[in-house]
């Protein structure tokens, strides 16, 4: 197991490097730059600015400078917000995004797993129908629409929760954003869990367990859950990607101070440094979670551990 974990960690490093490289070059090769504003800047100013941000150096040299600084935790300067470095801005937004994203991720995963398992055990009975319907809603109502509906219904009409904004430590402010993020994630997880649980409940080894007289509770807890989790766990990596993508919208709609908000505005302003920094940060988070998911997978499936 230890060897497996080490191998996975080591293999994540080149992936991270490839990802950084890809982002860097895609951004730099695209036409348009941060200084192509409405008003043309005088050539000398422009040259100074470009020199200041190393944009006058050959691309490959810029790349190495960037990677070198990145290794030291320096994401470089923001090209639009002059008073901040990218790292500073990310440090302000990151804790919030992580808190929002992971709360939703954990709640959504748990809710999804439980709902899916319940649905499977009660297949084609009313709890199953109700859950399948709820899952469908979570799946087909896009998060931006769900956000608008939640805001309107619970924020404005019923006035149960604040419709937006953020005060440090205020849980009511988080209820609606987290709900919006949880619904689709829980829906997808529940759908997968339902399918895989139904499949597992029909396997020969569950039949064997029944023939041993173990009783439903023990069969579910010991024999069915672990193998049923396998396909669900391998979805969690991409699932987190979806969820963080959703948090871009949610942070925007509910006016929350995460890095998602920076990302959109930075992309619109062509702020290379900030876009690159945000993308890389998102990527690192996702890679880290994928690593964790791989390890959980190996724990669940003994065959993976030894291969």
């Amino acid at each position: 197991m230890f060897g497996y974990v080490t191998r996975r960690v080591l293999s994540a490093i080149p992936i991270a490097l490839i990802a950084v490289t890809a982002c860097f070059f895609i951004l730099r090769l695209a036409p348009g730059g941060p200084f192509d504003g409405e008003r043309a800047l005088p050539p000398t100013t422009l040259a100074n600015l470009r020199a200041h941000y190393n944009l006058d150096l050959p691309l490959i040299q810029q790349y190495f400078i960037y990677v070198w600084r990145l290794l030291q935790g320096d994401f470089g300067p923001s090209m639009v917000y002059n008073d901040f470095t990218v790292a500073e801005m990310l440090w302000i937004g990151l804790p919030f995004t992580l808190m929002l994203g992971f709360s939703a991720f954990i709640i959504g995963t748990i809710v999804g797993l439980v709902a899916g398992a319940l649905s499977a055990v009660n297949q084609n009975k009313w709890p199953d129908y109700v859950l399948v319907l709820l899952v469908m809603i979570g799946l087909v109502v896009p998060n931006f629409l769900m956000a608008a509906i939640m805001q309107l219904v619970f924020g404005v009409y019923l006035d149960w929760f604040p419709a937006g904004g953020w005060q440090a430590g205020s849980i009511p402010h988080l209820v609606l954003p987290i709900t919006v993020l949880v619904l689709p994630h829980a829906g997808r997880t529940a759908r997968l869990m339902r399918g895989s649980m139904i499949e597992v409940l029909g396997t020969n080894y569950v039949r064997t367990a029944k023939s041993k007289g173990l009783g439903q509770r023990l069969i579910l807890a010991r024999h069915a859950i672990k193998p049923a989790l396998l396909p669900v766990v391998s979805y969690l990596g991409p699932g987190l990607s979806y969820l963080l993508t959703g948090s871009l919208v949610v942070e925007q709609v509910f006016a929350l101070p995460g890095i998602g908000k920076y990302f959109i505005s930075a992309a619109l302003n062509r702020d290379y440094g900030l876009v690159l920094g945000t993308t890389i940060l998102y990527m690192f988070i996702i890679l880290a979670v994928n690593l964790l998911v791989d390890i959980i997978y190996a724990w669940l499936d003994p065959k993976v551990r030894y291969s």
Partner: protein, 327 residues
């Protein structure tokens, strides 16, 4: 001898979209203590479903009727919770495919010891020790090492031995083995049958051996029951049925089995296909494939009737039978 299981008028039906399929009808038999009963038939003859029904393991759309009395309790229609106090303890089952019948995510010892924890109230340590002991008993070398292995680390034969060990842990009164050797290599098959014989003798367990392979029957069973189209068509001791089959289907089965000692003998397979349970022929189910069928067989279904000497058959034909040589 004491009867451990007595099945009376049992039936199994499956509800399909619009129709119903009767997989087993009017099944009657009894199993004595320590005896080995072979249940023989082609696939689709209802032999497996009958015993899955007794174990309460039918698919969701399946419904069992009649009675299966183990002592004075009826296993058919029993609530699952109550059934669980007997399954694995008094009556155990081994399945055809050892590759998929063990849980791939649990260690062998966990899958074994849980039976003892559940039914005998052993603590985990004691249960594990008993499990290892049982593994040794079923002929698994290095039982401690195997107990700590996952199923995918064991060979097919080894896994089937684990299944046997698991079924025998609580020394059940009845062991049902559903095609236990079909998925195994021939050499392993023989070892496995030997093991069955030794173990059931040692524990005094009654064995039901479900198989389509008469070679398997010959070596182990005391009595046999031949099934066709969801019904028993002939019953008797193995010797009687092998040397003096009275039902044309039994005869056909015997002639379909290659025999290594008589290599020159021509095989006479039964013509045609097993019937679809949804559309059984009128009269005797076997009539379309029967060389001896006459008018009555097409109109009327022969009941399973006692023919003396503890034998029963369901056939109207009373004349001599020489398969393949009937004019």
């Amino acid at each position: 001898m004491k009867t451990v299981l007595s099945v009376e008028d049992m039936s199994v039906t499956f509800a399909l979209h619009q129709s119903e399929v009767h997989a087993v009808r009017e099944m009657n038999f009894s199993l004595s203590e320590g005896e080995t009963l072979a249940v023989v038939g082609e696939s689709g003859s209802g032999k497996s479903q009958a015993f899955l029904a007794i174990m309460g393991l039918l698919a969701k759309n399946g419904q069992a009727g009649g009675r299966a009395m183990m002592g004075d309790i009826n296993l058919i229609g029993m609530a699952p919770r109550q059934l669980d106090t007997h399954r694995g303890k008094d009556i155990a089952m081994i399945f055809q495919d050892p590759m998929t019948s063990l849980n791939p995510t649990l260690k062998v010892k966990t899958q074994l010891s849980e039976v003892l924890v559940k039914h005998r109230g052993f603590d985990q340590r004691k249960a594990t020790m008993a499990a290892v002991e049982m593994l040794e008993r079923v002929g698994i070398p290095e039982p401690v090492k195997r107990a700590n292995a996952y199923p995918h680390e064991l060979s097919g034969g080894m896994r089937q031995r684990v299944m046997i060990a698991m079924a025998l842990l609580c020394q059940p009164k009845i062991l049902i083995a559903d095609e236990p050797t079909t998925a195994l290599d021939v050499t392993v098959q023989a070892q496995m049958l030997d093991l069955f014989k030794t173990l059931t003798d040692d524990f005094g367990t009654s064995l039901v051996l479900i198989t389509h392979d008469l070679g398997v029957v010959a070596g182990v069973a005391d009595r046999m029951m031949v099934m066709y189209g969801g019904r028993a068509v002939e019953k008797g001791t193995v010797d009687d049925l092998f040397y003096d089959p009275r039902h044309p289907y039994t005869l056909g089965l015997l002639h379909s089995t290659p025999h290594i000692a008589h290599r020159t003998a021509r095989l006479d397979p039964i013509q045609g296909l097993p019937p679809s349970l949804e559309h059984l022929p009128k009269g005797c189910s076997f009539n379309p494939r029967c060389a001896f069928a006459f008018d009555r067989c097409l109109a009327e279904r022969p009941p399973l009737a006692d023919t003396g000497n503890g034998r029963e058959k369901a056939c109207f034909y009373e004349g001599p039978m020489a398969y393949g040589k009937v004019a």
